[in-house]
């Protein structure tokens, strides 16, 4: 068998696409949240931050609040005071988030929502109360009981409480019709996001993950309407870009990065080392709810039901009697991937405790994998490049799948 050589996945986009990508990267790296400040300057009301992984942004939108996804400080934020708040054996995202709070970057936010992701994010909610007592700090306890009459009722009451808290801070009062419209707005957004993920599955050379990732990051800080427009703009640009040609790369699922995000350089490194990322967990809030949320009927119930019934399988969600890892195997099959890259943040309990069970499922299904850890501020990727390159080469050389697998 002829050995296929990994090649650099860099593209030279046209001017309009290049300008768009530059804007996206600026948004992702703008720790001053200029776009949020601009939105407020244009007469926007409250802006409320939220930590990974999932919050129902539709509810915030319906009350005129700008949901702002806080994804830590990445690799270009100098941690000056944040390290004094955390021991060395705790992941990086809380210390960079505290840093952003302390250095004034988050002054434009009127509050923060801390979803029930893990103990670290949970405890950060209390730290926020102590450090920023004048701001809203809301712990969003999502149910692990998925019975509509039990967990659903609890979740609905929690959302109603969040709604009241926002109103107390100056947001519009809850209005069912407004929520219905917001659900429709986010459904349009979800549809476009999925369209791009579908395009990436079919033609990953058209939609490099390093670009898609930046788009999703932009969606964390922009109003959803603007984000939706950007998604369309990007889709049109890449579809008409004839310079993007397929290369001989291994199709992989990257999993484990649902909270703390890898630095952009790491994603690019994976692509440059011979991997087409055809499925991932990055900035997962955009895809947490699979498919559209019902628009007919009581909108709050629809929001609750979507969470109970249509959430993705995730290490932070109790899966009852299902087999751990089976969802990952299905994802691999659906997107025609040839292997899995476990890319988890160091000290991320949910991801790392889940990993051995997922690996067992992959082994049973004969799916190759490799694993490494990162911190959001990693700056050196040579070791990962070698590891991922070797993994991609081994897939291409020895994979039992004849040729590239096809997405299903």
């Amino acid at each position: 068998m002829e050995k296929r050589v990994s090649r650099d996945g860099e593209h030279l986009p046209g001017d309009s696409l290049r300008l768009l990508l530059e804007r996206l990267e600026h948004l992702a790296r703008d720790h001053s949240f200029t776009s949020v400040r601009d939105w407020k300057g244009r007469g926007g009301s409250l802006a409320i931050g939220f930590m990974p992984v999932y919050v129902p942004r539709e509810l915030l939108h319906a009350q005129g609040v700008l949901p702002v996804g806080i994804m830590g400080g990445g690799d270009d934020l100098e941690i000056i005071r944040g390290d004094a708040y955390y021991q060395s054996y705790i992941c990086h995202i809380p210390r960079s988030t505290i840093e952003l709070g302390l250095n004034g970057s988050l002054d434009c936010l009127d509050g923060m929502i801390f979803p029930a992701t893990c103990d670290v994010i949970r405890n950060l909610s209390g730290m926020w109360k102590l450090q920023f007592p004048e701001k809203l700090s809301f712990y969003l306890d999502v149910p692990q009981n998925f019975d509509a009459a039990i967990g659903g009722e609890f979740y609905r009451r929690t959302l109603e409480e969040l709604s009241r808290e926002m109103t107390c801070r100056g947001a519009r009062s809850y209005d069912a019709e407004a929520l219905r419209q917001s659900i429709a707005v986010y459904n349009r957004n979800r549809r476009l996001v999925e369209e791009l993920f579908d395009l990436r599955r079919l033609a990953p050379w058209k939609v490099p993950t390093s670009e898609l990732y930046l788009l999703l990051r932009a969606g964390q800080v922009l109003p959803v309407e603007e984000f939706t427009a950007l998604l369309g703009e990007y889709r049109d640009a890449v579809q008409s870009d004839a310079s993007r040609k397929p290369m001989d790369q291994a199709r992989v699922v990257v999993t484990g990065s649902f909270c703390e995000q890898p630095p952009l350089g790491l994603i690019k490194t994976l692509e440059r080392s011979g991997c087409y990322i055809v499925e991932d967990d990055f900035v997962q809030v955009h895809r947490w709810i699979r498919g559209p949320i019902r628009e007919a009927g009581d909108p709050m119930d629809n929001l609750v039901r979507a969470f109970l019934e249509d959430s993705v399988d995730s290490p932070i969600r109790f899966i009852g009697e299902q087999q751990k890892g089976s969802h990952l195997v299905r994802r691999v099959e659906r997107c025609g991937a040839e292997g899995v890259v476990f890319c988890s943040a160091s000290f991320c309990d949910p991801a790392l405790l889940d990993q051995p069970m997922a690996i067992r499922a992959l082994e049973a299904a004969g799916i190759p994998f490799t694993a490494f850890k990162f911190a959001e501020n990693n700056g050196q990727f040579q070791v990962i490049r070698e590891q991922a390159g070797t993994f991609a080469d081994s897939i291409k050389l020895w994979s039992e799948v004849p040729g590239h697998a096809e997405p299903r």
């Binding site: 103990d119 712990y139 692990q144 009981n145 009722e153 109790f318 991320c348 949910p350 051995p356």
Partner: protein
């Protein structure tokens, strides 16, 4: 010259123990023996966790509780955890994650031999009381894949705002009524007997009264107890299999009498190396102890005359000194309140308030944090807790780091050095105050 592993260990003196310690040791050993014999006796068991344990409910169905955290710490105290953790890591579990989980898994893979040297039974049910610790969910997902047994999830909401609302209570009660009780009925083959549960809850409250009296005896000078190292013995029966049982009522009555007698005589705590010398320092400690070098760890304190007068670890299985008692008049509601009130289910501000109150009420010299690498539930935010408590009480804080059951993270010299430095700082402040 023999290598380090081959060198004979120095003979270790038998640890001194109070009568109550011997008694609780017997109780727990008897429970382990009963578990070991359960495949023959036909008794069924429920694996569950210490925080938010539903012992009265479990035992009202004549089911026997098994607490994996207790198994893990027992393994550590018997010097077994190093190999168990190594085995789990060999099987692919990350060095970054909770060592209780890895120790438990390694123990299971090594034959599931409990502290009495007998094999523990496989679980008939994993009762996932998801209280105050995210890792619990992952832990039982891992065990379920090993044992292929049912899991019952009880999601206990976190006190994000530092209070229990009626909505939170209703959520837990609904789960108890609709999910947990039917599952226990199915596993045990018995009907739910609320009257029996009420009787057990009444016994719990009596034992809790005595436990609180014991813990609060440390407000006296000298303290007759050590509320951290000694405290783990005192909480043993009520945190494990005996809350709601007559044995627990008897144990805590006896323990209280014993402590009150020490108080009358003006005696300090008994340590494994005998009666402690003069009380020189009074500390509040936050965080679990290290179990692999428990005795050595305690000795570092005792040698300096440092007695722990209050601790948060002794509240992980229930906070009783703020007035909560299991209430037989509201059986399911009281279980819900108990679960939600456990220490690691409290918000950071509530934890700060509690620790500050301990420093003041117990007239402590300061707060010492033993930060545990394995336990994000406890550890994330502790540096802020330290600063807040210092600022509210005006008394200095100290910080040491170790782990629950991984001996690789117990650096005796480092801990001793930090502890001594902290105590010297307290001394210097005292001298400054009197100068």
């Amino acid at each position: 010259m023999p290598n380090r592993d081959e060198m004979p260990l120095p003979a270790r003196a038998e640890a001194a123990k109070e009568d109550s310690q011997l008694r609780q040791k017997r109780m727990i050993a008897d429970h382990y023996r009963r578990l070991a014999q359960s495949p023959d006796s036909g008794e069924k068991n429920v694996y569950t966790f210490v925080p938010g344990n539903l012992t009265e409910l479990i035992r009202s169905f004549d089911l026997l509780p098994v607490l994996p955290e207790i198994n893990a710490l027992q393994s550590a105290m018997r010097g077994k955890s190093r190999d168990y953790i190594a085995l789990a890591e060999k099987l692919g579990h990350s060095e970054d994650v909770c060592t209780y989980v890895k120790c438990d898994l390694g123990m299971m893979k090594s034959g599931n031999v409990g502290p009495t040297g007998e094999r523990l039974p496989d679980p008939d049910l994993l009762l996932l009381s998801y209280t105050g610790c995210f890792t619990f969910m992952k832990w039982f997902e891992i065990l379920r894949e090993e044992y292929h047994c049912p899991v019952a999830m009880l999601h206990v909401p976190y006190q994000g705002d530092g209070l229990i609302t009626e909505d939170m209570r209703r959520y837990v009660v609904d789960q108890l009524r609709e999910k947990i009780i039917p599952t226990l009925e199915s596993i045990s083959g018995r009907r739910y007997d609320e009257e029996r549960l009420r009787e057990m809850l009444a016994r719990s409250a009596r034992a809790e009264d005595d436990l609180v009296a014991v813990l609060e005896s440390a407000k006296h000078r000298p303290s007759p107890i050590d509320a951290y190292f000694g405290g783990v013995y005192y909480i043993g029966p009520i945190f494990t299999a005996f809350r709601g049982m007559e044995e627990a009522v008897d144990y805590y009555r006896t323990l209280r009498q014993e402590v009150e007698e020490r108080l009358r005589q003006g005696l300090g705590p008994v340590t494994p190396d005998g009666a402690m010398g003069p009380e020189r320092f009074r500390l509040v400690v936050e965080g679990p102890p290290n179990w692999t070098s428990f005795r050595e760890f305690w000795k570092m304190f005792a040698d300096e005359g440092a007695v722990v007068v209050a601790s948060s670890y002794t509240k992980v299985g229930g906070v009783y000194d703020t007035g909560f008692r299991h209430d037989p008049a509201r059986p399911l509601e009281t279980l819900a309140d108990y679960c939600m009130g456990c220490y690691t289910n409290l918000s950071l501000p509530r934890r700060v308030e509690m620790l500050s109150r301990y420093v003041r009420d117990y007239d402590a010299d300061g707060l010492l944090i033993n930060s545990i690498k394995s336990c994000n539930s406890f550890s994330a935010g502790q540096l802020m807790i330290l600063r807040e408590v210092e600022s509210r009480t005006g008394r200095p804080g100290g910080f040491i780091e170790s782990d629950l059951v991984d001996p690789r993270y117990f650096s005796a010299a480092n801990i001793k050095n930090r502890l001594e430095s902290y105590l010297q700082m307290i001394d210097q402040r005292r001298m400054g105050a009197t100068a």
